[in-house]
Symmetry: C2
Subunit: 245 residues, 2 copies
DNA sequence: TAAATAGTGTCTTTCAGACAATATCTC
DNA sequence: GAGATATTGTCTGAAAGACACTATTTA
């Protein structure tokens, strides 16, 4: 990199604003939800009163890395510290923030429904779990609608060939629960037998004792062998006709 | 996003340095190469004399978007303006740049070998095409070794199930040329018949007249239908035994 | 006609999808 | 036992991999 727009020792040229935003997904009420916070109502703020993704400025004194900054904000909002956290991309332009040239680093997180305790911000911000699909069509603050759309697309795409949905469940989880999670995210039913074969064959989970629900036969509980990353399947889920190259 | 570390109208808190770096891939001499530039030798500069990825500070006055900034830098270095340009991710931390907290937005570009005219920087920077694999093991400036490694991993991963390698070829290209490109990036041979079936079935190319080489039977030339994005295949390339979950 | 390269055909195996059958629980 | 849910088994068709074969060029 040249890094020589100006004499390299003088770094006094204007810098963009740098923020981190997080798309936090969760399954609630049999639907895919995303966490939104309402921006302060003061008219001096950009997009007052609008719903936005949780996030904020990188705190140079406090944050050692971008990932760390994202993890901190996630924990502040949800109380969840261990979860799947993946970088989504960055959005930067002269006009996405009325306060000046800004670049945001977007992350997306998958967290299990239970164990979440929503924290209102110090400034008593309003917080809600919004249905993901409809939220992406809402008019959100900044370019957060676009970012949420990208997160949804990434999630849906990856769900076709990875074990990602497992991160949306508490452990131990059962195969029927996992299948239901896939179906919610994919938006279509999945064949039970094929699903189970696929999950068990790829061996990214291990047995964790029986779990019994309210009715019917108890199911085997599973936990992930590696909670730090998802497993890739060699093929996508696909009904017979579609995606058939 | 809170964006309220300080009163929201006062934006006078310290900001990270913001840069863009590009991993530019190209096939040369039957190998995958990446473009490196040598950093200035002045000791006042970070990593003097080290090889680095091309890139530099975002110019708030000049660049409208991050993608635009990347495209500009790509054109400045290679003379290539139309090519495949994808965001790779961002790397930001307190200590990756000795000059202070910095965040870089990394992109990766695929360009055809021909038509490239390397431009030495205004400051007569040294520029070279390095073999990609070995370059990723070299000690590059900043965290560029890590970034290059991530780019290589992303490329190799995507080559298994996308049409990406087509962007490394000039049009019109032939199927044997495309196959050779896949083999170079994958690092293993690919069956001719299966390869051709796959490429032709997914119909991301269209015929563009016969092309004849030095020897043997002339081949059909093809061009991409859509140069803006790659096509996804429903399955990965995989030899019989491996990846056979 | 030999060498080189491009393109096609065929066989086999794998495996996902469909769906039926069986197992184990509660009430 | 009825109802509910979990788990397994069997069949089938699509498609990828392996590999042999044919086609078209130059020397």
């Amino acid at each position: 990199m040249t890094r020589s727009a100006k004499p390299t020792t003088a770094l006094d040229f204007p810098r963009p604003l740098v923020t981190v935003d997080i798309v936090i997904f969760c399954i609630l009420e049999d639907a895919l939800k995303v966490l939104l916070v309402r921006r302060p109502a003061e008219p001096s703020d950009p997009f007052p009163g609008r719903w936005a993704l949780p996030g904020g400025f990188v705190d140079v004194a406090r944050d050692k890395t971008l990932q760390g900054c994202a993890a901190r904000k996630l924990a502040e909002k949800t109380g969840v510290s261990t979860s799947y956290l993946e970088q989504l991309g960055s959005w930067g332009s002269a006009d996405r923030d009325p306060r000046g040239w800004s670049a945001t680093h977007a992350f997306f997180a998958l967290i299990p429904a239970q164990g979440v305790t929503l924290q209102k911000g110090a400034n008593a911000q309003e917080v809600e779990w919004a249905e993901a699909e409809s939220a992406s069509r809402k008019r959100l603050a900044f370019d957060h609608g676009e970012i949420l759309g990208a997160a949804l697309a990434r999630l849906r795409s990856k769900v076709e060939y990875t074990s990602l949905p497992a991160f949306l469940l508490n452990e131990p989880f059962t195969l029927p629960q996992l299948q239901r999670t896939y179906e919610i995210v994919l938006g279509r039913p999945v064949d039970k037998s094929a699903f189970r074969k696929r999950m068990l064959d790829s061996a990214f989970m291990e047995e964790a004792g029986m779990v019994d629900g309210a009715f019917g036969r108890p199911a085997m509980g599973y936990r992930l062998r590696d909670r730090s990353q998802a497993t890739l399947f060699p093929r996508t889920f696909s009904p017979r006709d579609s995606a058939g190259g």
